[in-house]
Symmetry: C2
Subunit: 517 residues, 2 copies
C-alpha cells in the first residue's frame, strides 16, 4: 500500500494552502510505529507514577515555551481567534498538570487489599489485592475544533500517558502544522525523560488509511476519537470487527437540548436569550456542547423570547469555520432544516471568508419535530432550533424522542424545578451532564466533570473525556493473589509507601498495614 | 415468529428427560418483557439504595427458604454433587448480601463534588457534582457450570439489581427447572418490595431466538454472559451491530496457565502435583478458572513431577459432565490435542454416566506449542496440557503467545520470583488475576477480586464479574451542574445524609459540606 498524498493545511479564511507539507505515513511506517509503541509499553507501564507525572509537567512546560509559535500556526490553520487559542493552550497545560497531580495523589488506581485469613472455615481466605493498570498503546484521533486541548497533547493523550499507555496520535489533517509542533514538544519530553521514543508517535495522513491501520493493528489496545458521528461509527465498526476487539471512546454528535420553562422566561427572559445566543454562536458554534435544540412553549412569552433571540442572531457577525468541509456540512444542515419544515426566524451577517458561516435561528412546531426526528440531529455550527411544544405531554414526548447527548440544560424557577422533577429524572437518561440555569458550552476541567453521554453522544457512555476521571478510561483492573510484598506494586504493599487512599479489608484509609506474615 | 419447542431438562447421568416443560417465549413476549423492564427502570432507578439493599437481602432469604428444593433440582439437572450445590447456594446468598452491604456503605457511586467559585477569573467556577447511575435493563445469560452463583440470581443479576437496573434473565436450557424456581423467588421478592414486576423477568427458550431478540431490543442497555467463546462472540457481534451499540460483558474461554519453576518443583513437587490435580479435576474440570496449560521445564525433575501427576490422573474417578453437548465438546477437545501432536500421559477411569468424562493429562514440547497455537486454546473439562519448555527464552516465547486469560499462576521459590520479575510483568498483560503458589480455581468473593481479563477471557477486560467491583459494570457517570440541593441525589447533597465517602474539592472524606449558598 503506498501512502496518500502529503498533508497540507488550508487557510480557512482565504482558502489558500499554507506552507509546509507533512508526508503521509506508509503502511510499513504505521506497523513499525505500533510495534515500537508495544515495545515501549513494556518499559513505560513499569514506570513509577512520579515519572509519568514529571513527563506530563515537562510536556506542559515545553508547550508553554513554544506557545507563541504553536498558537500562531493553530490560528492560521483553524481561523480560531488568537485569544481563544491562548485560552485553549492554558487549558491544555492545565489538563496535563492536573493529571500529574492525580498521579501524585494516587487514589485513581483504586487500590484494594483483602488480607488473608488462613484459619477461615471451610477454606482459608487468600490475600487478594487489585488496582488499575494500563491497557496498552492508545490510538488518539484529535478533534478539528480544539486543535490544542482535544488534539495531539489534549485530554486523551494526557489521560493515556498518565495511566501508563503509549500514544499513537493521528495528526488532524486540518491542523497538521499545529500537530507537528505539539508532537515535537511531546517527543522531546519523552526523550528527555529517558523513556523509549515509542511512548509517543505522531503520524500524518491525508486520507483514512493510517487511521484505519491503527485501529486494526494487533498491538493497539484502545482508541480515542473526537469528531463526527460517521467517523466515530466507522472506527467503532473497525474495532468491533478485529479478531481481538478493543475499546473505542468516540465522542460524536450532540444537540445539547435546552429546556426553558415559562417561569424562567417570565423572570429573566432577556438574560436567558443573551446567554443562549452567546452559547450557540460561541466559536462560530463549533463546540460539541453547542445548544442545538431549544425547547420553548408555544405562546406569546416564547414568541417574545424568540424575537429577542432573533434580534441578536441577526446582528451576529459571520465567522470563518474550521475547514471547507465543516462549512459545507453546516450549509447542508441548514438546507435540511428548511427541507424538513423548520422556519428560519433570523440569520446573521454573511461574511467574506472562504469558510464563512452565518448564525441562524430556526423554529419548528413540536408535532413536526416528533414526526421528523431528523430535525433533532446535530447541525455543527452557529445555528439553533427552537422546538415549540404545545403542552406538558408534548414536551415529555419530545424529551423522550431525544437521542443521547453530552449535556441537557433546564432554565427554571425554583417552584418549577420541583414540578418538573420527573422530567429532570428523564433527562438524566439522555445526557452525561445536566445543567440548571447555566449554559452547556465551557466545560470545567475538574474531578467531578463528566463529558460523555449515551450513544450517539459517545460510543461508550460509561466514560468521560474531560476531567480527572478520564484517567480511568485506558485502564483495567488486575488482581494479585498470594504475592510476597516485594513482588507487589508499591500501591498495594502493606507499608503503603505512596501514602494513597485504599480500601483495606472493607475500610477506606491511607494507613500502612502491619505485616501479618 | 413462532416460539421454539418448550425447554426440557436432561438428566446428565441417565440421559433421560426430566419432568416439567417450560414454554419458550415468543417474540411478542420478549418485546413485552423488554418494554415492561424499561417502564420499571423509571421507577427502580429512583429507589433509594436502602430499598435495593433490602430487595437483595429478601432474595437471599427467599433462596434459603427454598434451598432444599432448588438444590435438589439443580443436582438432577447438572449432575453437580449436592455438597457442591449447597456451597454454591451459600455463595449465591453471600453475594447478594455482599452487594447489599456495598449499597449500605455507599462509596461505590464514586460521588465527587467540586464546589462553585463565583469570583474565579477569568470565568466563574461552576458547581459540578457527579456519581454512578444505572444504565437500564440488563440481559443476563447465566452459565451452565454454576446453576446458582452465575445464573438467574447470580453475580450479574445481583450487580445489576444493586446498581438500579432491571434484569431480563434468559434461563439456561440445561437447568430450566432450577432457573424457574430461583426466578420465582426473585419475582416474589420484587413483588413484596412493592416494586414493578418488570424489575425482574425470566424468559425461557430452547433455541437462540429469545437471546438474540433480547440483545437486539432497543430497550436493553447492557448484556452479561458467561459461557463459550462462540456464544460470547455472537452476542458481541449482535450488540455492536445495533443502531445503538451497548456494552457486553461476556466471560468466555481461558486456559489459566500455571508456570512451575524448577526451584518450586524441587522444594515441593509432590504438594504442587496434588494441588494441581485437585484444581484441574475439580467439579469434572468445569470451572472457568480450570488450569488447562502447565508450563514445565524439560528434564528429569519435570518428568518426575509429571509422573506423580499421571499417577493421580490415572486414579481419578470419572464424573458426569453438565450436558451432553459439553461432554461431546470435551471429547472433541481431547481428539484435537492428539491430532495436533500432544501426547496423552495418563487418563482417568471411564464412567457409565451418559455424560461421563475421564480426566486426562497431556504433554507437548514447547516448540510444538509455539508452532501450533491452537494447542493453547481452552478444552473445557478435566484435562490439562503440560507444555515442556526448553529454556528461559522459549518460556518467554510461550508466555507471549498466550491469549488473554482470567488467571495466570506461578509456583516459585522466593529467589526465583525476583529472577523472573520480567515474566511476572509480562503475565500481567495476559490475565486479570495473578497468583503465586496457589491454584486458580476457587474465586474469593471480596472487594479486591478481579474475575475478568483480556480478550478472549472476557469481551471487556476493564470489568470483573466477581467481587464488589462488579457493581460498577452496569453504570455510567452522570454530572449535575448548578443544581439546587433538593434537586440533587442524596449522595451529592451538601449535608451528605448517607454519610458516604466522597471526593470534595479534591479531598476524600465523609463529612458534610457547610452550605455555601
Amino acid at each position: 500500500m503506498s501512502a496518500s498524498a502529503p498533508v497540507q493545511a488550508i487557510d480557512p479564511v482565504t482558502g489558500a494552502p499554507l506552507p509546509e507539507e507533512y508526508p503521509s505515513a506508509t503502511a510499513a511506517e504505521v506497523d513499525e510505529a505500533c510495534r515500537r509503541a508495544a515495545d515501549a509499553f513494556e518499559v513505560y507501564r513499569a514506570t513509577p507514577a512520579a515519572v509519568r507525572a514529571e513527563l506530563l509537567r515537562a510536556v506542559a512546560r515545553g508547550l508553554e515555551t513554544e506557545a507563541a509559535e504553536i498558537i500562531e500556526r493553530a490560528h492560521r490553520e483553524s481561523a480560531l481567534p488568537l485569544a481563544r487559542l491562548q485560552g485553549e493552550m492554558g487549558r491544555t497545560c492545565t489538563q496535563l498538570r492536573l493529571f500529574a497531580t492525580v498521579l501524585d495523589e494516587g487514589s485513581w488506581v483504586e487500590a484494594r487489599i483483602d488480607t488473608a485469613d488462613p484459619a477461615r472455615q471451610p477454606l482459608p481466605k487468600p490475600d487478594v489485592r487489585s488496582m488499575r493498570r494500563p491497557l496498552g498503546p492508545v490510538a488518539v484521533f484529535g478533534a478539528s475544533n480544539f486543535p490544542l486541548a482535544f488534539s495531539v497533547a489534549g485530554g486523551d493523550t494526557a489521560a493515556a500517558l498518565a495511566s501508563g499507555n503509549p500514544v499513537l496520535a493521528k495528526a488532524h489533517p486540518a491542523h497538521p502544522g499545529t500537530c507537528a509542533r505539539v508532537g515535537r514538544v511531546l517527543a522531546a519530553a519523552v526523550h528527555e525523560a529517558g523513556l523509549p521514543a515509542g511512548v509517543f508517535t505522531l503520524l500524518f495522513d491525508a486520507g483514512y488509511d493510517v487511521g484505519s491501520a491503527l485501529v486494526r493493528h494487533p498491538q493497539v489496545a484502545a482508541v480515542a476519537f473526537t469528531g463526527s458521528r460517521a467517523g466515530g461509527e466507522a472506527l467503532m465498526r473497525l474495532a468491533a470487527s478485529r479478531p481481538r476487539p478493543i475499546p473505542v471512546y468516540a465522542e460524536m454528535g450532540s444537540v445539547n437540548p435546552v429546556l426553558i420553562l415559562p417561569g424562567a422566561l417570565a423572570a429573566r427572559g432577556p438574560a436567558i436569550a443573551a446567554g443562549l445566543h452567546g452559547s450557540f454562536t460561541l466559536g462560530v458554534g463549533q463546540f460539541c456542547t453547542n445548544p442545538g435544540v431549544v425547547l420553548l412553549e408555544e405562546g406569546a412569552a416564547g414568541d417574545a423570547f424568540l424575537a429577542a433571540l432573533a434580534e441578536k442572531t441577526a446582528s451576529t457577525a459571520s465567522g470563518a469555520m474550521l475547514t471547507p468541509g465543516i462549512c459545507r456540512a453546516y450549509q447542508e444542515g441548514q438546507d435540511h432544516l428548511a427541507a424538513r419544515g423548520a422556519e428560519r426566524v433570523a440569520q446573521g451577517a454573511e461574511g467574506t471568508a472562504a469558510t464563512g458561516a452565518s448564525a441562524a435561528l430556526w423554529q419548528v412546531a413540536g408535532a413536526r419535530a416528533l414526526a421528523e426526528p431528523e430535525l433533532l440531529e446535530e447541525v455543527f455550527g452557529p445555528s439553533t432550533l427552537a422546538v415549540r411544544y404545545r403542552d406538558r405531554a408534548q414536551l415529555e414526548s419530545l424529551l423522550r424522542s431525544l437521542e443521547g447527548n453530552l449535556t441537557a440544560t433546564v432554565h427554571a424557577e425554583p417552584a418549577e424545578l420541583q414540578e418538573i422533577a420527573p422530567l429532570l429524572h428523564l433527562l438524566e437518561t439522555k445526557a452525561g451532564r445536566l445543567l440548571i440555569n447555566q449554559f452547556p458550552t465551557g466545560v470545567e476541567v475538574c474531578p467531578a466533570m463528566v463529558h460523555g453521554g449515551p450513544f450517539p453522544a459517545t460510543s461508550d457512555g460509561r466514560s468521560t473525556s474531560v476531567g480527572t476521571r478520564a484517567i480511568e478510561r485506558f485502564t483495567r483492573f488486575v488482581a494479585w493473589q498470594g504475592f510476597p510484598q516485594d513482588a507487589l506494586p508499591p500501591e498495594l504493599q502493606d507499608g503503603n509507601p505512596l501514602g494513597i487512599w485504599r480500601l483495606v479489608d472493607g475500610a477506606w484509609g491511607q494507613q500502612a498495614l502491619f505485616a501479618r506474615r
